[in-house]
Amino acid sequence: MSGDTDLGYSEVEEELRANVRALLADRAPAQATLARTETEQTTDLALWRALAGELGVTGLPVPEELGGAGASWREVAVVLEELGRAVAPVPYFGSCVLATAALLTIGERKILPQLASGEAIGTLAVPFAKPPAGAFPTDVRVSGGLLSGTVRHVADALAADVLLVPAVAEDGTPELYAVTGAYVEPMVSLDMTRQLAVVTLEEVEGVLLASGSNAAAAVGAALEWGAALLASEQLGVAEWALTTTVAYAKERHQFGRPIGSFQAVKHRLADLWVLVTQLRAVARAGAGAVTRGVDVPLCSALAQAFASGAAVTAAEEAVQLHGGIGFTWEHPAHLYLKRAKSASLALGTADRHRARIAELVDLEV
């Protein structure tokens, strides 16, 4: 039961956090991240190389014999928290969560080492809004051994070297392919720190990775674990919103006193702190469940049912309590609002996850 999950952070995890945070403070300051959203290259590949090369955090859950760190998803969650806190524009979620989860599930051994070392970037070519419990994606079809179809709203595809493409065979069998020859076109995205793309395949060759229930299991696990772990990124976003707003409320004076001394402001921040405290417990439960392989469907659905609203509330409160400055382009609050809102739609909105919970705990209509 989830009661046994360790909901805290180990010393090793705290050390990992400190390293990632220091790197991000140095290489991904808010103003640079903001500026990057208006350039051609919205992914920060130099930062990616630093995460992979200097910190070695791109293969945490991958076994050592496959070039990974032999750690666990709990550590991945800590990295995600820090990346969320910095809205860092790196394809970590696509490559180190979605693609890595799919490949681990099917026991793949060739692409995985490349993703683990960070030398290659991968992602799962599914619409980012797709909920875990849905049907196998049918955007891409196999015909005469070649793949064709269009997948919209794919996360982290712009930087990807390899796409994991779920496709439906002529006889209807679900299959999973590795594809390098897709046409990837950027979309103007609500969250430009994680720019989405349209992936188009026109009679493209792919390497068959899995077929039938294995393919379905790989996609299902990627989305389900992804939903559980996305909560940690959302926690990072919410924590930024809370700490930045608390600091501002201590500093900003109106009516001859800090705005944080007004109870109307104070109480909202106290409520926000409670919400973020709860979000942390939920996110740790999600990461713990995936790590232990226990209670995963429920903890994953709970993660998104709770984290989506919590992170959006945190970002919205940050904007409001900063007043006019919080509404400017110059201030990073909007980056967090966009990330939070986009993440709340990603992998299924909260209501879909609530519906999943209803199935799991017998609370259906």
Binding site: L7, A355, L363
Partner: protein
Amino acid sequence: MDAELTRAISGLLTAHDPATTPVADFLGARFDAGLAWVHFPEGLGGRSAPRAVQQEVNDAFAAAGAPTLDSGRHGIGLGMAAPTLLAHGSDEVRRRFLRPLWTGEEVWCQLFSEPGAGSDLAALGTRAVREGEDWIVDGQKVWTSLAHEADWAILVTRTDPDVPKHRGMTYFVCDRHAPGVEVRPLRQATGEAEFNEVFLTGVRIPDAHRLGAVGDGWRVAQTTLMNERVAIGGHAEPREGGMIGVLARTWREHPELHTPAQQDALLRLWVDAEAARLTSERLRQQLAAGQPGPEGSAAKLAFARLNQQISGLELDLLGAEGLEYHDWSFRRPAHPSMLDGSPGYRYLRAKGNSIEGGTSEILRNIIAERVLGLPQEIRVDKDVAWKDLPR
């Protein structure tokens, strides 16, 4: 849990079969074996073990079907008085009170709030005046839960009205049966009287029953209040424990009442309750390593709001049946429980959750100031002698 602890538990269970041993005897044996609060010192129900193993010890006893006390009746003793006695009591006081508190032979109540001092507890005016080896106490307390059942009370008094209010208080253990202690029921919105007014007239308390130094009552009271909030909101519950479990059962038992809108409302609360439960579990894991901090306030705040929303939805869900109530007759419960009675009772009783043990507004102040470090309210009462405060 180490081998010695495991041995101690199985030894106790062998010597005192939980199925046949009277509850107080069993709990007494558990206390004497140092298996009550394992982090307490030897001889006081513990064995100076790390707090972290307490849960495992509790689980081991629970698995063996060992009895525990009803937290509705003994919550104030176990959750508030015991940690305060341990932290601030003399050796003699701890030896006298902890064992019967643990076994349930003595029931405790909390004489803190007064008509003029609720949220602003430090404004309290019940006077204690030194007379030789004793103190003479006069004043009035209010909202005192279970005073009608209690044997002992934790009591905060004013001993020096000439200094600012936070400094002139002293904390005592008070004999509820002592001459001059008069308990009158105070009926509440539910129809029953869980709480009381308590009039103290010339009550004599030996100085030996003082906790902490004279004038240091506020600091001692903080220990009680921090533990109170954890005790109210910081339980380690199983999934669907507490109020949400009641609502989920109602849903499952009444398919004829289901509507999609109410299902979504139910699921939102289920998610929030599970998040709050995990938060309490995380808090418990952290507490295992140290003392309760202001984080307990978050658990209590969340618990109050959830209970109110959940019990409100239960009435909505029941519709016509929600128009009924089980019993308005005046009574003084000896074993109060949030979950008993009727849905209407739960709805009404939950309204107290955001008032008792610190109102939700006060808890937000505490979180904002002590956790987030936001500036204090502009205060007009800090440097004024208690006797000169406007009231």
